[in-house]
């Protein structure tokens, strides 16, 4: 995260880290149910074998495992069948864990939006992750507040890419607060009434975040995929 701040442990209990040896943390991910995690499809490019991945929950400092940490292996990776690597469209995937997580105050699922629920432009939401900070990779989870930007406005920043309805833009023209390499797959959450946090985006792509080219970040629009997510979880739980 660029322009963010270090997060307090346990503040984002749905944030998880998708890890693979020998590199360790590769992408962010989001806990949506005891056995299910969302992330983006591009995290698995060239590494689609579930056996090489593990998912770490309840962690704040990647370098210091905490007593609240839980680790699960990956049982299944479900990539969106329309994921297009060349244009980074339909960038979403579902991960089935090998065992349920134990729900604690440090490991809890986030709410998913309903099919019709959209986040309005100019809403302020939060992004989190262990991605690049512009000058270094952090050990501690970072958080940043970003503003939702309309698709039309967002398209103006990306002359060379088509912003589709499967995407959601958030950030600032100046790029002051933005997601960056290593944040991919992590959450963009907005607070809803009664203090519930709902997942509206997954960090997907943007301009080179620490270069001269600035602009908002582009997130996978979770509302667009709700039906697909529900179907896949149902199929893998009851029909396979």
């Amino acid at each position: 995260i660029l322009g963010g701040r270090t997060s307090r442990p346990g503040r984002w209990p749905w944030q998880c880290s998708l890890q693979s040896e020998p590199s360790g943390h590769i992408c962010g991910c989001v806990l949506i149910a005891k056995r299910w995690v969302l992330t983006v499809a591009h995290c698995f490019e060239g590494r689609e074998n579930p056996a090489v991945w593990k998912v770490v929950f309840g962690i704040n400092n990647l370098d210091h495992p905490s007593v609240f940490m839980q680790t699960r292996m990956v049982k299944t990776i479900i990539l969106h069948p329309r994921y297009n690597r060349a244009v980074v469209d339909y960038d979403i995937s579902i991960v089935e864990l090998n065992a349920d997580i134990n729900e604690t105050s440090y490991v809890r699922p986030v709410c998913l939006p309903s099919r019709e629920q959209r986040v309005e432009p100019d809403t302020y939401c939060y992004i989190t992750g262990w991605g690049h900070m512009g000058n270094k990779m952090p050990f501690k989870l970072q958080e940043g507040e970003v503003r939702i930007i309309s698709l039309e406005h967002c398209q103006a920043y990306f002359d060379m890419k088509t912003i589709t309805t499967r995407m959601l833009c958030a950030g600032y023209e100046s790029g002051t607060v933005d997601s960056c390499m290593g944040d991919s797959g992590g959450p963009l959450v907005c607070e809803q009434p009664a203090g519930r946090w709902t997942l509206f985006g997954l960090t997907s792509w943007g301009s080179v975040c620490f270069s001269k080219v600035l602009g908002p970040g582009v997130y996978s629009n979770v509302s667009h995929f709700i039906e697909w997510i529900e179907r896949q979880i149902y199929i893998h739980t009851f029909l396979l």
Binding site: H25, R85, W197, V213
Partner: protein
């Protein structure tokens, strides 16, 4: 290394060692960079001439924004060809080596377009020193020069009549982006080789019709896709399966859609929510005979809800206009199945004359622990 995998042949060495040149282990790979998909070659080799190690890195680089923007100024007919030869260099499949652009192409591009960049205060990419590229062409074997008919605009761009390239999504958007307005001409879907969504002006690719994913407003591209008989029901992928197979616990549609949404709750009447099962696309109440609490858990879980559920057996007289019954089949405990609908059968009498009513809870989500108070 955190975002890409290394080719297998390099696994004997540390894949993230920066001193280990990837040039030694890279192989020809298909071009996926959207900007450069119209080149007279299909394979590339990395790192490229701008120092990007992967196509993904190239796709989000400053240069991949710069060159297409510059093409729009019409400064040089072959600028985009040159840009692509350095962004996704041609790969020789025999040697797995890159083939660079010829020096003359580089020099011409720089000479004609660099000054335009200067006007807006930008610099020509530093890594494009033309002297690094060979002069000799030898039939495009040593270095590349463009053919006369090379396409200037990438497939994701529209070429204005003036020659300028504008983003394809801006074509026919009601606003002129070409100086000659040519991007707003011939805007019918048909003229553009696309399909027009009924009752909206949206155009989609023909391959998107009846593919199981709704793309038009109201999912109009997914209607009238199958012609099933009266005794059949349409799967989500538009296959037809016999009506009696719907929600029978066996998968009949290839996409498994005949076993989706088989369990639901009736509408809330007098605060009681009756468990319903949709066998053969007909709604059935569930008879309370032999009902057990673990079945209530299963029903709630199938509806995406949590527990512990509250189960009630409601006598039939309290719900006078009830639907048909379904009963648990005999020895259902021995059946190895994961869905409720597979355990139920029709046509049996309901001895208790009672229906199952359920109250499931929604799994808790989205709550953060309260911040701990500390005295100051």
């Amino acid at each position: 290394c955190t975002s890409t995998s290394c080719p297998d042949i390099c696994t004997h060495s540390s894949p993230c060692d920066m001193n280990n040149s990837q040039a030694n282990c890279s192989q020809c790979e298909p071009i996926t960079l959207e900007l450069c998909m119209n080149l007279p070659y299909n394979y590339t080799n990395y790192p490229n001439y701008l120092g990007h190690r992967t196509q993904k890195e190239a796709s989000i680089s400053w240069e991949s924004s710069l060159f297409p923007a510059l093409v729009q100024t019409n400064c040089y007919k072959y600028l985009m060809f040159f840009a692509c030869t350095i962004l996704v260099p041609k790969c020789n499949p025999q040697t797995n080596q890159r083939i660079p652009p010829c020096r003359a192409l580089c020099e011409q591009s720089k000479e004609r377009c660099e000054s335009i960049l200067g006007i807006v205060g930008l610099q020509w990419p530093e890594d494009t020193d033309c002297s690094q590229f060979p002069e000799e062409n030898l039939d495009n074997h040593i270095c590349l020069t463009p053919d006369e008919d090379v396409e200037e605009c990438s497939p994701s761009h529209f070429k204005c009549r003036s020659g300028r390239c504008v983003l394809a999504s801006r074509r026919c958007d009601g606003q002129a982006d070409c100086e000659d307005d040519s991007d707003e001409e011939n805007c019918g879907c048909k003229e553009r080789g696309l399909w027009e969504c009924p009752s909206s002006k949206l155009c989609i690719k023909h391959a998107m019709i009846c593919d199981g994913f709704p793309d038009c407003p109201g999912g109009m591209d997914e209607t009238n896709c199958s012609f099933c008989r009266k005794d059949e029901i349409t799967c989500a992928n538009h296959d037809c399966v016999p009506r009696k197979c719907w929600c029978d616990g066996q998968i009949d549609c290839a996409d498994k859609s005949d076993e989706w949404n088989c369990v639901s709750m009736s509408e809330n009447k007098s605060s009681l929510m009756f468990l319903m099962v949709h066998r053969s696309a007909i709604k059935y109440h569930v008879c309370a005979d032999e009902w057990e609490e673990n079945l209530s858990y299963l029903a709630c879980k199938q509806m995406g809800l949590g527990g512990p559920p509250v189960t009630e057996m409601v006598p039939e007289y309290k719900q006078p206009h009830h639907e048909k019954w379904m009963n648990l089949q005999s020895e259902w405990e021995r059946k190895n199945t994961s869905t409720l609908q597979a355990l139920l059968v029709t046509g049996l009498p309901c001895r208790s004359r009672s229906m199952v009513s359920l109250l499931c809870t929604k799994e808790d989500c989205g709550r953060r622990p309260a911040a701990r108070m500390s005295k100051r």
